[in-house]
Symmetry: C2
């Protein structure tokens, strides 16, 4: 009586196209597809674009989108280099929306500016970088199934992204795991000292209104499974509920032996295309109706430990 275990297997299918029974599957499994991938299809994130956040529960890796939000990436490098985030905390977790970390002193109302941690040599404000001009030199793997929010969606340099060719604009999408820059009402008021990660249904209405500075590539569950805050918008009310940030280092600032050894599947690789196609059309016995479609934010990007 394998019903439940099988149901579980079949359910996983939804997550990354893993059939319930490999032997009955006509759609290759992710495992099978990844086993056939070539070393050249994997990339090692540039240590200058990799933030290593250490929480009491473990490590969270964030890859910075240096070609999409370069000024924000630069400011985040500075903040990490100068240990700005060390000792700050996660102060807000709102169900089906965001986990946010920043200086808890900034969340009081009114804010006592004398209590704020100085930003050091980081810039206090930045140009918006909510969109950028389409550059044919940047890789673009377009998805075939369209999108209700943007004329085109796909992947670029490992990030789910959208495009409007008529306007010549492209931008990163607020998918699960996206790391965005909180800001004040002014479009130029963000600087990276307050960041949020998307932990629910993609709030794509934020696209083009906030800078997506990067994406969580490891340890997402350390942000998504935290207790939701009881106050409006998910703020913690008791300072004891806050999750302390041990440190946020730029991988490039770490001795080479201490840098995370991870590889990410290239989103312009044949194996990634095959993974997407396998997920679009499930042809194993469990599925009575393959969707034939996939939305941008439902596609996971494989990450593995580097050998």
């Amino acid at each position: 009586m394998l019903r439940h275990r099988l149901a579980a297997c079949a359910l996983l299918a939804g997550a990354l196209a893993l059939p319930a029974f490999a032997e009955e599957a006509k759609t290759p499994t992710p495992k099978e597809l990844l086993a056939k991938s070539t070393p050249a299809e994997w990339r090692t994130p540039d240590p200058r674009n990799l933030l290593v956040m250490t929480l009491p529960a473990g490590r969270v890796l964030i890859e910075l989108a240096s070609d999409y939000t370069p000024l924000h990436a630069a400011n985040l490098r500075t903040l990490a280099h100068e240990h700005y985030f060390d000792g700050l905390s996660i102060n807000r977790v709102q169900d089906n929306f965001v986990t946010q970390w920043d200086d808890p002193a900034s969340d009081s109302d009114p804010v006592d500016e004398s209590k704020l941690k100085p930003l050091g040599s980081a810039r206090k404000t930045l140009p918006p970088e909510f969109t950028r001009a389409i550059d044919p030199k940047l890789p673009w793997t377009r998805l075939p199934d369209g999108d209700i929010y943007a004329p085109e969606v796909g992947f670029s340099e490992g990030f789910p992204a959208a495009r409007d060719p008529k306007r010549g604009q492209t931008w990163l999408a607020h998918c699960y795991g996206a790391v965005g820059v909180a800001r004040d009402i002014g479009a130029q008021s963000g600087n990276g000292s307050a960041l949020y990660a998307i932990i629910g249904q993609a709030p794509r209405g934020l696209d083009r209104n906030l800078a997506v500075a990067g994406r969580v590539i490891e340890g997402m569950e350390r942000l998504s499974a935290l207790p939701r805050g009881p106050a409006p918008m998910g703020f913690y009310t008791d300072p004891g509920q806050r999750v302390p940030i041990t440190s946020v280092h730029l991988a490039a600032d770490l001795p080479e032996a201490e840098r995370p050894r991870v590889e990410v599947l290239r989103t312009d690789s044949a194996t990634f295309a095959a993974l997407i196609e396998a997920k679009r059309n499930r042809r194993d016995a469990f599925y009575t109706v393959p969707a034939g479609k996939i939305d941008l934010c439902s596609i996971g990007i494989p990450v593995r430990e580097k050998k």
Copy 2:
């Protein structure tokens, strides 16, 4: 220096169209819209369609979709009435996918059938109910922005749903909070004794392949913020990690004084339409580019304590 708090306010906007500054907002806030709602726009869930799940952390309310999956609703009423779920547990939490509860004895491999909790007078298998015929008598509030998975999407009786008029079919969508029926490889193998709730980006590829039996209308964070399981597919490995289910009662089986006193905004009400429109087009100062669109699974349905 209100930057972070304001950023947080502005961010919430993504969740349910709450502007950062009510006084500057041109888009009405949900609070303003709800304040103008009439009593007739709210409905009290039928106690025969309301499951009250009690976990150590508190209550989770699930409304059954009796017009979409009537046989599954009937079986779930029987299982609850006969205390099938009491003493079982949440055994699987897979990040960005599902939280699943069932008989933990069914998750071993191989399963020792003698250890399984009997289903009592509930049916062992059920017809699929993955879709149903479109019935003009059922309310249908169509969304204007389309969908990549289905010809039409919208709301029916409080549930996010999809339609294919050419095939004459309609079905409930696997949005955040949807409660589905895990099953074996056979389409008729589900019975409701193993259920899952969606806790991440909507896995719409499951639509029409599994029965959506209901939707969490309260207490979602008690399912979504649980620790993710370390085993493949998010299964807990240590029985001590499992979250015990104190009880699952049908509200109709409870004395009237003990029934949850909640009301849900009707999804065919003018106020719900106004909430959707406010979320589609944010016109407060924070937003530089209103999306002009909204996807089915990004719309929350207000629930309130009954006065």
